[in-house]
Amino acid sequence: MTGNNLADYLTLGLLMFSIGAVGVIVRRNPVVIFMCIELMLNAVNLTFLAFARYMPSSAPASGREASFMSGQMMVIFVMAVAAAEVAVGLGIIMAIYRLRKDVDVDEMNLMSG
């Protein structure tokens, strides 16, 4: 891990993504689950940027400039999406907390067949 080849960045992204996925599955507090999802989104952003900088594809279909810029554009829009998601998601958590004073996803069993 020296930071001068593609594999290092992809590995860091993969580790963060996997840790985030584990967190989503094992944690029970929705705020923490949501943080883990943000972690996953950041891992994806890092992967996009790593590919943009060290694109392994030798002959991209759409020209070199278009190729490395589109990865960066994706990162910008993922950030915008994350911002909107955070606003709405925390709004939902607030609303549910007002109703039940505890926000454990496992305690939610009102709905059943």
């Binding site: 689950i33 392994p56 278009a66 829009f77 549910i96 996803v105 709905m111 067949g113």
Partner: protein, 510 residues
């Protein structure tokens, strides 16, 4: 480390960028429908602001007029040539126009019956209408692009609005819980979808779906694996959104907990969007170059089994449900399986089998699903709502018209001729046979028989006399709901009567 462009522009990056990114060609008509729907939402929001705490008739009027004009601008473009504008971000072809038209129709039908229900449920928020419109614009964006960035943004606009709408009934714990569940799983699925897009980008160097075909090379292990992981992760994310088994667990809970009109929109609009994106992805990922293995030979078996599981599990679990909305939720999972069979049949053999079947099925599915949910929404009164089978009892006496329509919807969901549901299933069955997917055709036929039991149960519940005080008096029939029922029931027969001209017009093939 900190190299600003101006200081290190030795190799003329600025100039090359200016050449590679000229001002894009702009074709206004192809974004006009989406722009109209978004702007209608903004106008609806302003109207709400100007007349707070009054009835929502003005907002509904504006929304319907806006949707009408969006539909008009879509229909007027059917004669125009296919074209990609805005730097490849917006695509106008027949598929995108038909799907957008479907979304506009679904939104209009949902808005039409929402007012009575929201008032009966004591949540008459004017914000509902702009959010539904924006959500619809998200589904339209998904259908009208071949760029993964736009498809992703479309999914997010669609989903984020739906998260809010699912939690709109703020005094009901189950509504909030369904919103939270939907939100967390939806965001989780988005992350997987994005990770898949990242690998696909790494393999192809582009976010455009057309690049997949030219980049496929099964002999280069690194690139083959990258595209396979990309595809797998993207399908994982999309399967969540489209509620395929085994990624369906959220569906019944969310469908049950969300307000009924939101559920109707979710079941129809969001499914249309997800299926459109899935079709775009799958049909771009088919290769028949002579390099050894084709791309579809890797993902086709997985989707084959997912289709079988989705149809079977959806129907089997629906048999034991006691709640109408949950039953319809599982039924929508089963129908997603049928639609997937249609898509697979097309992708497996695009020369013989057109996409028209799937579009027709989506149309008839949206009509019957929205109709059925509209009738179920009649059980809400005085801020309370019961959606168990018992709560439908006695509906026959209170609103015979609604029950009459319910019978049509149920007949169509089962697939009894001469409803559109029958013809849709028959066509998917034929397509599956034509494209050598015999097992899928058989599973589809068996499942159609299985599903009769629970659908009849829904219709039967409406005819049983109400006894005991538990059943809440349901809301009176209102004009909007009657109109929705009439349009949906009429539409179910109309698409059958006008079958040939409709197919020609939708698909453009003789």
């Amino acid at each position: 480390m900190y190299n600003l462009l101006a200081q290190t522009d030795g190799n003329g990056l600025a100039k090359r960028l200016a050449e590679a990114f000229p001002p894009p060609t702009i074709d206004w008509p192809s974004i006009l429908p989406i722009a109209l729907v978004v702007c209608t939402g903004i106008v609806a929001l302003i109207v709400e602001m100007l007349r707070p705490r009054q009835n929502n008739n003005a907002i509904i009027g504006f929304s319907l007029v806006g949707l009408f004009f969006a539909g008009l601008s879509l229909t007027s473009q059917f004669a125009s040539p296919d074209l990609e504008s805005f730097g490849g971000m917006v695509l106008r072809d027949r598929f995108s126009l038909t799907i957008q038209l479907l979304v506009v129709m679904v939104t209009g039908l949902t808005i039409l019956f929402s007012d009575g229900y929201l008032r009966a449920k004591r949540i008459p928020f004017g914000e509902f209408y702009p959010l539904v419109l924006w959500s619809a614009s998200g589904a339209m964006m998904m259908a009208s692009s071949k760029n993964l960035l736009m498809i992703f943004l479309g999914i997010e606009v669609l989903s984020i609005s739906l998260y809010v709408l699912a939690g709109m009934s703020k005094t009901e714990t189950k509504s909030e819980e369904s919103a939270l569940k939907y939100f967390l799983l939806g965001a989780f699925a988005s992350a997987f979808l994005l990770y898949g897009i990242a690998f696909m980008y790494g393999a192809t160097g582009s976010l455009h779906l057309d690049a997949i075909r030219s980049a496929w090379n099964p002999n280069d292990e690194a690139f083959r694996n990258m595209m396979l992981f990309g595809m797998g992760l993207m399908l994982f994310g999309l399967a969540f959104k489209a509620a395929f088994v085994p990624f369906h667990q959220w569906t019944p809970d969310v469908y049950q907990g969300a307000p009924t009109n939101v559920t109707a929109f979710m079941a129809a609009g969001s499914k249309i969007g997800a299926m459109a994106a899935l079709w775009r992805l799958l049909s771009a990922s088919t290769t028949n170059v002579d390099l050894g293995a084709t791309f579809q030979s890797y993902w086709m078996p997985a989707l084959f089994w997912i289709a079988i599981l989705t149809m079977t599990v959806g129907n089997l679990v629906a048999l034991v449900q006691k709640d109408v909305k949950r039953t319809l939720g599982y039924s929508s999972i089963a129908h997603a399986g049928y639609i997937l069979v249609g898509i697979l049949a097309h992708v497996n053999n695009p020369e013989k089998v057109g996409i028209g079947t799937t579009v027709f099925y989506l149309l008839s599915y949206s009509l019957m699903t929205i109709g059925a949910f509209a009738v179920v929404s009649l059980t809400a009164k005085n801020g309370k709502e019961g959606t168990r089978f018992e709560d439908l009892h006695g509906l026959w006496k209170r609103s015979p018209f609604a029950v009459g329509c319910l019978i049509v919807f149920v007949a169509s969901l089962i697939g009894i001729p001469p409803t559109s549901g029958f013809f849709g299933k028959l066509m998917i069955f034929n397509d599956a046979l034509a494209s050598d997917l015999m097992p899928l055709a058989i599973v589809l036929a068996v499942n159609s028989v299985l599903s009769v039991y629970y659908y009849v149960g829904i219709a039967k519940a409406a005819f049983v006399d109400a006894e005991g005080a538990r059943t809440p008096e349901s809301a009176p029939m209102n004009l909007g709901l009657a109109a929705t029922c009439l349009l949906c029931a009429g539409g179910i027969f109309a698409v059958v009567i006008l079958f040939n001209p409709l197919m020609n017009w939708l698909v453009g093939a003789p």
